[in-house]
Amino acid sequence: MTNAIELIGITKRFPGVLANDNVNLTVEEGEIHAVCGENGAGKSTLMKILYGMQPADEGVMRLFGQELSFSSPNDAIDAGIGMVHQHFMLANQLTVLENVILGAEPTKSAGLINFDEASSHLEEVGKAYGLTVDPNDLVETLEVGERQRVEIIKVLYRGAKVLIFDEPTAVLVPQEVEELFRNMRELKANGATIIFIDHKLEEVLEIADTITVLRQGKTVATVKPQNVTATDLAELMVGSELPKPQISESSNNNTVALALEEVSVLGDDERPLVDDVSLSVNKGQIVGIAGVEGNGQHELVGAILGTQEIDSGSISLMGKDISSQSVRDRRESGLGYVPQDRQDEGLLLTAPLWENAALGHQTSRPFSNGWRQWFIDKVGSRSQTEMIREKFDVRTPNIDVSAHALSGGNQQKLIVGREMVAQPSVLVASHPTRGIDVGAQASVWQQIRDARSAGLATLLISADLDELIGLSDSIVVMFRGKIVARLNPSEINPRSLGAFMTGAALETES
């Protein structure tokens, strides 16, 4: 069996981060090869290099024995590699046909598109691989599973022999996952080679022929599914041992700080994004929300913060109903917020650090003063920012640089710091250590632990199992907008947690 893909010694650096560190990957022709790792392990970067979207800094790439290097996706496409993206690269307002043929349109004279030829070719491809789509549908009318099929046909249309799937099941429900696996087996039977990135261990074990595990940018193991269990895989992914939950004393003083009662948020199509959620967080307690992204956590956070309207239910902060209060009022009442996307939602990238430190707190001292807090207190803001920098170890030349000059980790420390020094009664922290280096991560964790001891109530949303289990006093699992489990972190293992997160547990329980 020849090797379809050989990646040898691939290294890729970004400012402040070593994304891929001497990674080796060998994929045999005609096999389904899974690449596993937790967030930030370097899987996406590796695939982007394989697909020509990024150049590698070091290393060699061989395709069917021939050494190649790609300068753009075009090269990869020509070489027979196709990428099915996690976030679909489909234009909603164009038809399936238009999306598929883009870049390789068959034409008649004068640049006119030969729609007939395109259409019949597309149908051929679809039939050959068992994928059914209507070429004339507008993409925006398609369900997620159908859109994924269009993504797949897009690469097959160009004759791809090696298909890369980037976290394909992240957005699918169980039935759609079965359909996808059926398609993958069909593709394999027709001679395609498949690489797919996934972190759902049960799925990987089900479909893959070979599994390579990445951790912190390095290859840690290549195994066969028949030789490992999900627990083994989890341990390979996150390290030699799972983090032990905090044995420290409970600092829960049984005063309810944040309470949600039957909160629901409806989407545009009247489907509930948050479905009748009730939970509470006490002072000195950390409640973790586990769940695959897209199951309503983001909308729940928005509802608590005030940027998202709720359709029913109520939210109270330290006993006071804040359901209809503005964001500013809630902040002033003691709600702190660490957003999941620091650049989009948390920072003013082109503004200096001391102004960023004031964001969200510009109506309170020491950031503003004067009659009705009308004036910005520059001196006060700066000294407060210096204090944050000191206390939270924000590495920066000074506090006048713009926020974008800081690394992700330092940006996050700044954000955590500014929220903490305002001494909130409740902190909503959404993926607080996503995409930041290990050192900053440890620092943030410590800050959260210390604040907890001092009586802070924290709602922690995260996809990082380490973080959830290590920090939370109790964990709730969200699935499809509902809370499906309330767990004790000291009694939990990743497999059962994962099962709840992916909804598999629902079936076994009932």
Partner: protein, 416 residues
């Protein structure tokens, strides 16, 4: 019944809407307070068509740019360049070359906009505003260098130029010494049918070839954008350039070309104003029609056919002023507006949009009341009516319409 209309093929649908519109005009004319036939007169139709052309061309210009994802606020400036180069070209080489050179002048403006937005990533609106300022400045300067040297020229205007030849449809409108069927129909004074006849006659009589070319550009644009490879790639640049990039399309190239085409259209529109409408270049001759073209683009939901309809709608009030000696037609327009607004009320209620219905009801009532308590409308109202109509249209439709998904976003290759 409305659903049945919606299911008809496009041309039949538009014909139905047009007929309903003419019916309203006819009714208002017949049953209104003061007798007038000006609303559906041949001369009005002729002028309305002419006046809508620059708006149409500006709108089509905006279409190409925005379909490629580049907002082109600078259409007015490019149009001004078109008025200048059009007049210069027509003066020196005749009207046909004038139009071509005017288009080239506008394309130069487009080139500058493209370099700034696509090449350097400057914010689209800032670049557009800069071009709107540069356009008249450049025209001023060029006039002082060139037109002052001509007999009859000055810093603010050019000498007179020739028009493009005119075409009259044979048999229907009596062109080339054939019997004039539509005139016969119009003379019969049959309600509605004669009005339709008069309007059609206005469109088909003595119509400039430039107008005809401009109108042909509507189906041509649709064809190019939706049926050619070039058009598909332009559209992906505006809907999701990163998807296009991931499939190997050179997005920069298509944006660039699209913006230059945009400028060329605006330039054509400007040249049309100089050559066809006023027969000279005049400083300030565009009177904001570049912007009205943008409004037509929005109202037309970024589709060529819609833009044409919007351009005609916006051009009509301009045209009505001419030849309306007793002022009754402009006055009658108040009632027409009221009826249209009440139509919007019905549409809004059917779709459960209560605030829209309320606004439309209030505006419609004001218009109707004004109609009944007065006999004529003041000058200044007639002058500002086109702009008011644009605002009113946008009030109802700005949020319902959909521009290309990635329109206005700064795209840099290699970054998501």
């Amino acid at each position: 019944m409305i659903d049945r209309i919606r299911r008809l093929p496009a041309y039949a649908r538009w014909a139905t809407y047009a007929t309903i519109g003419i019916l309203i005009l006819t009714l208002v004319q017949e049953l209104g307070q003061n007798q007038t036939s000006h609303l559906t007169a041949t001369s009005t139709a002729q002028t309305a068509l002419k006046w809508s052309i620059p708006i149409l061309l500006a709108g089509l210009g905006g279409l190409f740019a925005e379909r490629a994802g580049i907002i082109n606020i600078g259409l007015e400036g490019m149009m001004i360049l078109g008025t200048w180069f059009g007049a210069w070209g027509a003066f020196n080489y005749g009207p046909y070359w004038g139009i071509v050179i005017g288009a080239i002048g506008g394309a130069i403006g487009g080139l500058i906009h493209a370099i700034a937005t696509v090449g350097f990533g400057v914010d689209h609106i800032i670049s557009g505003v800069a071009i709107n300022i540069l356009g008249p400045f450049a025209a001023r300067f060029l006039s002082s260098e060139v037109f002052t040297g001509y007999q009859g020229g000055s810093v603010t205007q050019s000498p007179r130029v020739e028009n493009v030849d005119k075409f009259t449809m044979p048999f229907l409108a009596g062109g080339y010494e054939t019997p004039n069927f539509l005139k016969w129909l119009g003379d019969k004074e049959i309600p509605l049918l004669s009005d339709i006849g008069n309007i059609l006659r206005g469109i088909l009589t003595q119509t400039s070839w430039a107008t005809i070319i401009a109108l042909l550009l509507v189906p041509i644009s649709a064809y190019v954008l939706w049926k050619t490879r070039f058009g598909l790639r332009v559209r992906i640049s505006g809907e999701d350039p990163w998807a296009g990039e991931s499939q190997g399309v050179n997005i920069y190239r298509y944006k660039f070309v699209a913006v230059m085409i945009s400028g060329a259209f605006a330039g054509f529109g400007g040249a049309f104003i100089s050559i066809e409408m006023s027969s000279i270049y005049q400083e300030g001759g565009t009177t904001g029609r570049g912007f009205i073209g943008l409004a037509a683009l929005i109202f037309g939901n970024w589709r060529p056919g819609g833009i044409l309809a919007a351009a005609l709608l916006f051009g009509y009030p301009y045209a009505l002023q001419f030849g309306d000696f007793d002022g009754f037609a402009s006055h009658a327009l108040l009632l027409v507006n009221a009826i249209a607004l009440f139509g919007v009320v019905i549409w809004a209620l059917r779709n459960d949009k209560r605030t829209d219905a309320a606004i439309a009801f209030v505006l419609g009532s004001l218009s109707a009341v004004w109609y009944f308590v007065s006999d004529t409308v003041p000058d200044w109202w007639v002058k500002i009516l086109p702009y008011v109509i644009v605002i009113v249209v946008l009030i109802f439709f700005a949020q319902r319409l959909r521009m290309p998904a990635a329109n206005g976003q700064i795209y840099r290759r290699g970054q998501t």
